[in-house]
C-alpha cells in the first residue's frame, strides 16, 4: 500500500515537476507566469496531436514543448517587451490557451495514439520497494529524475544560469557586462514554457493517454504554488512535486483499500501547505525570491 502511494506520487507528480521546474527558470529570470496552466494545456494537446499524426511519442514531447514555448513566447513579448502586467498577461494566456485547445482539440478527442508505456529499468525495477516506486515508469518520469538536478546545476553552476539569475536579481549588473536583460528573460520564459509543455504532454501521452478539453484541471496552478513552496530551488521542486503528487494520488490507494477519504481535502493540500509554509517561513521565503520578482509584485500596478 505504501509502495502504491509512493509509486502514484512519482507518476502523478512528474507533470507538476516539469511545470514547476519551468516556472522556476522563468521566475529566476524575473518573470512570473500564471499562464503555466495554459502552457500545460497547449503542451498536452500539442503532444497528443503530434503523437497522433506521427505515431512517435518522442516527437510528441517535442511538439508539447514547442506548444508550451510558443505560448510563453507571447507572455515574454507582453511582459518583457511591452511591459504588461505579469499577472494579467499570464491569466490572459491561460484563457487564450483554454480557447485554442478547445477549438483545435475537438478532432483529437476520439483519436488513439501510440502512447508511452512503462519501461521497467532492468535490474533496478526488481529491487523490492524501491523498484516499483522509482524504476517502473514511463521514460518521461526517468528524464524528470535527471532534469531537476541538471536544471539546478545549470542555474547555480554555469554561466547561463548566472545570467538568468542576474536577470532576476540585479539587472544593472547584467547591463554593465553588456548583456541584454530582455534577451535573457525571453530565453528564461520560453524555456520555462517548454518545460510546462512537456509537463502537459506527460499527462496526455504518458499518463492518461487521451486528450480532453481542460484536462490539466488545475495542475498548472499547483505548479505555480509549488515554485513558492520550494523557494525557487529545483531540487526542492522535485521533492515538493512528489509530495503534491502524493496528495493527489493518495485517494486512489485509500479508496481501493476501502478507506473513505475526502478527495477535496486532499486536493486542497498543495495550496494549504504552501500557504502554511508561507505563513511560517514568510520572510525567509520571500528572501529566497528573486529581487526582480519582488519588484513585479510591488510594482504590479504599473499599467
Amino acid at each position: 500500500m505504501i509502495i502504491d502511494i509512493l509509486a502514484g506520487a512519482v507518476r502523478g507528480g512528474t507533470s507538476i515537476m516539469y511545470a514547476g521546474l519551468g516556472e522556476t527558470i522563468s521566475e529566476r529570470g524575473g518573470v512570473i507566469n500564471l499562464g503555466t496552466e495554459g502552457a500545460m494545456l497547449l503542451g498536452a494537446l500539442g503532444g497528443y496531436a503530434v503523437t497522433a499524426e506521427t505515431g512517435n511519442p518522442w516527437l510528441g514531447v517535442l511538439g508539447g514543448a514547442l506548444a508550451g514555448a510558443l505560448l510563453s513566447l507571447v507572455h515574454a513579448v507582453l511582459v518583457v517587451s511591452r511591459r504588461a502586467n505579469q499577472f494579467a498577461s499570464g491569466l490572459t494566456l491561460y484563457f487564450l490557451a483554454l480557447g485554442v485547445t478547445a477549438l483545435f482539440g475537438v478532432s483529437y478527442v476520439s483519436q488513439q495514439i501510440n502512447a508511452f508505456t512503462p519501461v521497467p529499468v532492468p535490474g533496478l525495477s526488481e529491487i523490492p520497494g524501491i523498484g516499483p516506486i522509482l524504476f517502473d515508469h514511463d521514460p518521461l518520469v526517468y528524464i524528470a529524475y535527471v532534469a531537476a538536478p541538471v536544471i539546478w546545476w545549470v542555474l547555480f553552476r554555469t554561466r547561463v544560469g548566472l545570467l538568468v539569475r542576474t536577470a532576476g536579481e540585479r539587472t544593472e549588473a547584467l547591463e554593465v557586462h553588456g548583456y541584454s536583460v530582455q534577451a535573457v528573460r525571453y530565453c528564461a520564459t520560453v524555456a520555462g514554457g517548454a518545460l510546462a509543455g512537456i509537463g502537459g504532454a506527460h499527462i496526455s501521452i504518458a499518463y492518461a493517454n487521451s486528450w480532453f478539453e481542460n484536462m490539466i484541471a488545475g495542475r498548472g496552478f499547483i505548479a505555480v504554488a509549488l515554485v513558492i513552496f520550494a523557494m525557487w530551488n529545483p531540487i526542492r521542486i522535485m521533492a515538493g512535486a512528489y509530495l503534491f503528487g502524493a496528495a493527489l494520488s493518495l485517494a486512489s490507494v485509500l479508496q481501493t483499500s476501502g478507506i473513505a477519504v475526502n478527495q477535496f481535502a486532499l486536493n486542497a493540500v498543495p495550496f494549504v501547505l504552501t500557504l502554511v509554509v508561507l505563513a511560517v517561513l514568510g520572510r525567509r521565503t520571500m528572501l529566497a525570491a528573486p529581487d526582480e520578482l519582488l519588484k513585479v509584485f510591488d510594482n504590479s500596478r504599473t499599467t
Binding site: 502514484g8 478527442v109 476520439s110 508505456t117 492518461a208 480532453f212 486512489s252 481501493t256 478527495q263
Partner: protein
C-alpha cells in the same frame, strides 16, 4: 482622526449601497416576473416543430454518454430530414445551460432535449418561461410535471446487471473495479446491479468502487485505474463520461473491460467482455414525433417516462460480446435477460446493504422510483458512499 475618516467613508458607502439596493428591491417585489414570453395561444407545445435543440454536458466524441446523445441526434436527422437540429456540447451544469437553451428557443427551437442530469434546473426554468416549447430532460425526476415538460430514461441498471454476470464469470482474482464520478443514485444503482450480477455467478466477488469526483478528469482516472489494477482487480468497469483512458489502461494491463455508455470494443480488442450502451435514436424519434403531432401534453412523455427491458423499449442495451466470453457465460446472460424481459428485476429481494440492513425484503421488488433514489452500496462492494 485618520481612522475615523476612513471609517466614515466606509460607513457612507455601506449605507448608500444598502439604501439603494433596498430602494431598488421594493418596487420589484410587488410585481414579480411572470413568464418571459407570451404563451403561443391555443397551439399545443412543440406542435409542428421545425427546429429541435439538444444540449449535452460533454464532447460529442467522448466514447461515452455524450457520444450516445450525438448518435441519437444523428438518428433524429435521419428520421426527420427537414428538421433543423441545433446541438450544443460541453454545456456546463450552471446558468450556461439556461442561456444556451434560451438562445436555441430564440433561434426557433420548440422542442428541447436537456441531456445531462445537472441540466434539470435550467430545463425547468426554460420550460416555465416558454410554455409553447417542449422541454424534455434525460434522467431527471419531476414532481409535479408541467404540461410542456417530461423526463425520460432507460433502466440503466438492467444491462449493467447482465454485464456483471460476464464480469463475475471472467474474473480470476475475484476482484472487480468500478471507477465512478460522484455517488448519484443512478451510479449507485449501477454499481449495485453490477455487483449483484457478478455475485449471481461468483458469490464471493468483491467490487471495489472508487470515485474521481469528476465526470471527466483523465489524469485522475489514470491514477484510480493504476491503483485498482495494482490491488489485483482483473475486470474493470466505470461510470464516467469519458471512458477512453480507463479502457486503454485496463487493456494495456491485460485485464478485462466492461464498457459503459458506448461500444468501445475497438479500444480493448483483447479484453472487451461486454458492456452497456445507449441507443437513443428510437426514443428521441418518438418523442419528437409525438410533439410535432401536437400530442405531447398528456402523452407518456409528459411524465417521468421510464422504459425497461420488460417493455421492450429500454434505450440502454447490452453491447456486443468480446472474444473471451464463453458460450456458457452467454447462455447465463441470455437466461437472466429473459427473466428481466419477463418482468424480473436485479433488485428483487432480498437485498442487503453494506452495513447489513435488509433494504429489500425477500419476495419484494422495488419500484423504479425507489431504485432511482438509491443511496447505499450492497454487500460485496468495497467503498463508501461519500
Amino acid at each position: 482622526m485618520r481612522l475615523t475618516r476612513t471609517a466614515r467613508v466606509c460607513l457612507v458607502a455601506a449605507v448608500v449601497i444598502t439604501a439603494c439596493s433596498l430602494a431598488a428591491c421594493s418596487p420589484a417585489v410587488s410585481s414579480p416576473e411572470t413568464g418571459g414570453s407570451a404563451p403561443a395561444g391555443d397551439s399545443a407545445p412543440g406542435a409542428d416543430a421545425t427546429t429541435v435543440g439538444v444540449i449535452a454536458v460533454g464532447p460529442k466524441d467522448d466514447f461515452g454518454y455524450n457520444q450516445a446523445v450525438y448518435q441519437g441526434v444523428e438518428a433524429l436527422r435521419e428520421q426527420f430530414p427537414d428538421l433543423d437540429v441545433l446541438e450544443a456540447y460541453n454545456i456546463p451544469e450552471d446558468d450556461t445551460a439556461a442561456t444556451t437553451m434560451e438562445s436555441m428557443v430564440a433561434q426557433g427551437a420548440t422542442i428541447i432535449f436537456a441531456t445531462s442530469y445537472g441540466h434539470l434546473d435550467a430545463a425547468k426554468q426554460v420550460a416555465e418561461a416558454h410554455p409553447e416549447v417542449v422541454v424534455v430532460h434525460q434522467g431527471g425526476l419531476l414532481d409535479p410535471v408541467p404540461a410542456n415538460m417530461g423526463t425520460y430514461f432507460g433502466s440503466v441498471f438492467e444491462p449493467v446487471y447482465l454485464a456483471g454476470i460476464a464480469a463475475g464469470a471472467a474474473t480470476q482474482t475475484g476482484k472487480l473495479g468500478y471507477v465512478y464520478a460522484i455517488p448519484i443514485p443512478q451510479t449507485l444503482a449501477n454499481i449495485n446491479a453490477f455487483t449483484l450480477g457478478a455475485q449471481s455467478v461468483r458469490p464471493d466477488v468483491d467490487v471495489t468502487a472508487v470515485s474521481t469526483t469528476s465526470w471527466c478528469d483523465p489524469a485522475t482516472q489514470a491514477d484510480r485505474v493504476a491503483s485498482l489494477l495494482s490491488s489485483g482487480v482483473d475486470v474493470m468497469t466505470q461510470h464516467q463520461d469519458c471512458t477512453k483512458t480507463i479502457i486503454e489502461a485496463t487493456e494495456a494491463a491485460g485485464a478485462y473491460t466492461v464498457g459503459y455508455h458506448a461500444d468501445a470494443s475497438s479500444l480493448a480488442p483483447e479484453g472487451w467482455l461486454t458492456g452497456s450502451e445507449w441507443d437513443w435514436g428510437p426514443l428521441y424519434t418518438d418523442i419528437v414525433q409525438t410533439a410535432i403531432d401536437g400530442d405531447f401534453t398528456g402523452s407518456e412523455y409528459n411524465a417521468n417516462y421510464r422504459a425497461n427491458m420488460a417493455s421492450g423499449k429500454n434505450p440502454f442495451v447490452a453491447s456486443a460480446f468480446g472474444p473471451s466470453v464463453t458460450d456458457e457465460t452467454k447462455a447465463l446472460i441470455a437466461a437472466a435477460a429473459a427473466d428481466l424481459e419477463a418482468g424480473g428485476s436485479p433488485f428483487a429481494g432480498p437485498i442487503t446493504a453494506q452495513d447489513g440492513t435488509v433494504t429489500v425484503p425477500e419476495g419484494e421488488t422495488p419500484p423504479i422510483e425507489t431504485i432511482e433514489q438509491m443511496d447505499y452500496f450492497v454487500q460485496g462492494v468495497t467503498g463508501t458512499v461519500s
